[in-house]
Structure formats: C-alpha cells, structure tokens
Symmetry: C2
Subunit: 279 residues, 2 copies
C-alpha cells in the first residue's frame, strides 16, 4: 500500500487538532503559549499519532475517532522532549535544526511549558467527543500509566542513570520499553479503544505497540551507529545485529495482529516503515 | 465545631491513600521513587485534601468518596512545589525545614519526580472506585484544566514574569486565582462531584473554592508582611487591608454555600480556619 498517500490524507487533521488544542492568544500568559507551540509546529513525523489513527481503522472504525488519542500522545511526547533537552538532563541546544525550548524561551518557561503540555494531553483526551465515558476514562488512565513513573518518566530516569559501559541488551530494551514503547502501546491500543474496540483487540494492539516501540528505537539506534554517542546496544552487538533484533520484534508485533484482516494493512505498513528505514 | 478533631479523624486516611498511590519498591527506578516521596512525607497541612473531603460531606455523602480527589490534588500541589523550587525558578534550597527535592536528589530527578507526580495524580483519580465513569471523566478533565496553562502553570508563569513593582492588586488576585485557587476550586467541587453531587452543587462549590483559594493566599501574604520578600499586594495596601480583603472573600465564599445546611459546617469551619489564622 502507499503509506505516503495514506498519511498525506490523514495527518493534516492531526495538525488541525493540535492547533485547536493549544491555548488561544490570551488564554494563557504569552511566553508560555509560544513555548508550548515551539516544538509542536513544525513538528516531527507524527509517528505516534499515525499509529493511533491506523489502529482505529484496523478495528473497522473511522480514523477520526482516534484523533483525541493522536493529539494526546503527541503532546506527551513533545513535553518529554522539552524536559529531556533541559541543561540538567541531556543539555541539548538544538532539535530538528532549531533552538530547543529552553534556549529560545528560558529554562523556567521550558519546564513549565512541558508541565502544561502534559496537563493539556489529559484535557484533550478527556474531552473526546462521542466516545463512551468508560472508554475515555480507561484511555486516560492508561495514558497516565504510560507517561508516569512506571513508563516514560521511569525510562528516562534509568536512561540518565544506568552505566552505559555495563548495560546489557536486556537492560537497554527495558529502558526503550518504557521511554519509547509505552507511548506507542498507548497510541495503538487506545486509538482502537476510543473507536469502540473490544478488550481483546485493545490488548492485542497494546502488545503490538509495545513491540513496535522497542523495534523503532533499536532501528533508530542502528542508524546512529557511526555517531559519537552511539547507543551501547549498538556498541555491544553492532549495527547489523541491532537491526536484526528490531526486525525480529517487528515480526512478533505483526503476529500480535493475528485475526486482524485487511483493515489492519495501514497499521502493518506503518509498523514496517517505522522499523525498516533506509539507511 | 472542633476542626482539629474533625481533621484528626479524617486525615490519616489521606496519608494512607497517598502511601498506597506512590510507587512500590521495584515499580520504578530507585532515585525516582525516593524523590517522589520526599515532599509528600512528611507533608504539609493537607489543606486541599481536607477541602475535598469536607465538600463530599457538605452534599451529604461519606467523606471517603472524595479520597481520590484528595490524593490527586495533593499530588499536583506537591509536583508544583518541586518545580517551583528549582534553580531556574525560585531557587529554594529548603522547604518545611528540609532540603528541597533538587538539593536532595539532583535537578534532573526533581524535574522528573514532578512530572511523574502529575501523571500519578491523573492515574489515581481515574481509578476512583465506585464512582460513575462520567463523573470520574469530568473530574479528571477539570483537574487537567486547573493544573494547566490556564490555571496553575499559567499562574506560575505570570508570577515569575510580572513586574512586582507595578503589579496592582487586581493582577495579583488573578495570579493567586490561578496559581493557588484553581486547585482549591477543583478539590471542593470535585470532592462533591465524585460523591454524587448534582451540577448545581458542583458549580456552587467551585465558586466557593475559587474565592477561598485567593483568600487563603492573601491571608498567607498578610502573615508574611514583615519578611523581606513581602508580596507586592501587602506592600501596596498594607497587611491589615490585605487581611480585610481576605475576610471579604471569605464572606463571599460562605455566601456561595447558600442552601447548604448543617452538613456544610465542616467546610465552613475549614474555610474560616484557612483564612483567619492567628498571626
């Protein structure tokens, strides 16, 4: 299938929904409003939102039903990038060729913009129109778990603290599983949940997203093999074995979609595209 | 009524619920788990949780129904203190006679502990047992709004940026209204919502909490009148006029409870105690 055309038809709605979600002029203090937008527009590939939309279609629903999940996951992802870039963490001055938020707006404003984006993610998701209240509540609860101490934040803490020299591949996969894959799992399973999927499908899609998230991060690590801060997974086993592990996780993830038919083709294509990138 | 005895009977359940909410050993990386607990135990007066519990009783329900709101509001309040204390914001080394979180656990861990506490607040609230899903969803949505760019975070941004010399009393009340009162309004209205209150009562309690929150902060400012960083409200009008404004807001807040009977006595006593503190 033509993944590029698929995304070109759907991602403009994500841009629109992100724009609608961000504070209007006057709704919050000016430096904060700009700092919150800074890393959202222009954004990245909107990969996590795409998984949410394709998951809704995989269970036979219109992709529009998953928009609140798509926006929420992108807001949480963006807040985590802003905080990761801070001087006390990775201390990065640039991201996607532009100054990071703390460079452009100051450190206090960067911390607070991240804080406000996290709250906004919940606000958008909890305002999902048309979805039954129990599904919305359960989706938001899963976002809280994915974003919290046992997920995204815990993964970042381990990433900052673990001894890169000694870390074995299992430890690194555990960090990737929380820092990266928890949001992929949330997006895939709850894009479908908001679209009316039953608990079994939601569970299959969580499993799928978790594996794809780790595979995506390993593929990313393999691409960076020649950089100075190549991840220790690549340094331990080499770029080819890292990509091979990503491919194996991709195959596992696709098997988790057993019983999904034709409607899951976009989701399968998206998974393949995320893990098998040209070098 | 005996406010001290009232609180002594109820607050131990809040301590218990906070303990149950925090990550168990092994559920997240160790430095994070300790940093998350650092400012929760020993805690402050648990004033916001007390408002949540008393609001449930004000609408004739058992106070236990409001525990998820009580815990959630305390977690958000605590995360905001951790971030406010950071070197890039107020740069405080001590709080309640102990080292602040970034002094004890490092700046990165303090940012991340705050992030995880915000997520945990939503997780606890969204897992509220026994409450109907629409009430839980609406309560969490209101927490997101209270905590976000239009509430707590926006108030903190203005507090950092506004020109203290020129700030007039209206501007300062607007900052207090977001930085402090939004959480009081959330706690009062949603403590009752989770206990089954109708929309009219929820609205009255939001109005009540909003006024009490500003009054509480002004009373606090008045107590600090002699300190070097006395708030500009006090410097503009003096401590007596600041306390008089707090008293007037207290009277407004109590009028917002018109139609509440005897069952709201603990809530009224709590409000009086928060605003009329002995100097």
């Amino acid at each position: 299938m033509d993944l590029r055309a698929y995304l070109a038809e759907r991602l403009p709605a994500v841009e629109h929904a992100l724009e609608a979600a961000l504070p209007k002029p006057g709704a919050c203090p000016e430096p904060l409003a700009s700092a919150m937008r800074h890393l959202i527009f222009p954004g990245g590939k909107r990969l996590r939102p795409a998984f949410a939309l394709a998951a809704a279609e995989a269970v036979g629903a219109p992709w529009e039903r998953a928009l609140p999940v798509a926006v929420a996951v992108e807001l949480v992802h963006t807040y985590s990038l802003i905080h990761d870039d801070l001087p006390c963490m990775d201390d990065d001055d640039e991201r996607r060729g532009r100054p990071t938020v703390h460079v452009a707006w100051g450190e206090a404003c960067a911390v607070l913009a991240g804080d406000a984006l996290q709250a906004l993610a919940f606000e958008v998701l909890l305002a999902a129109p048309g979805a039954p209240a129990p599904a919305v509540r359960d989706a938001a609860r899963e976002l809280a778990r994915a974003a919290g101490a046992g997920g995204l934040v815990g993964g970042q803490v381990d990433d900052l603290h673990f001894d890169r020299a000694c870390a074995d591949t299992g430890v690194i996969e555990s960090v990737h599983g929380r820092k990266t894959a928890a949001l992929f799992a949330f997006a895939s399973s709850n894009g479908a949940r908001l679209a009316g999927a039953d608990a079994g499908r939601v569970e299959q899609l969580r499993d799928f997203g978790q594996r794809i998230g780790i595979a995506f991060q390993l593929a990313d690590d393999a691409l960076d093999a020649d950089s100075d801060d190549a991840c220790s997974y690549v340094r331990a086993v080499g770029a080819a074995a890292t990509q091979a592990r990503a491919d194996a996780l991709l195959a596992d993830a696709l098997r988790a979609l057993d019983g999904f038919g034709e409607s899951a083709e976009p989701l399968r294509a998206l998974a393949g595209g995320a893990v098998r990138r040209s070098t």
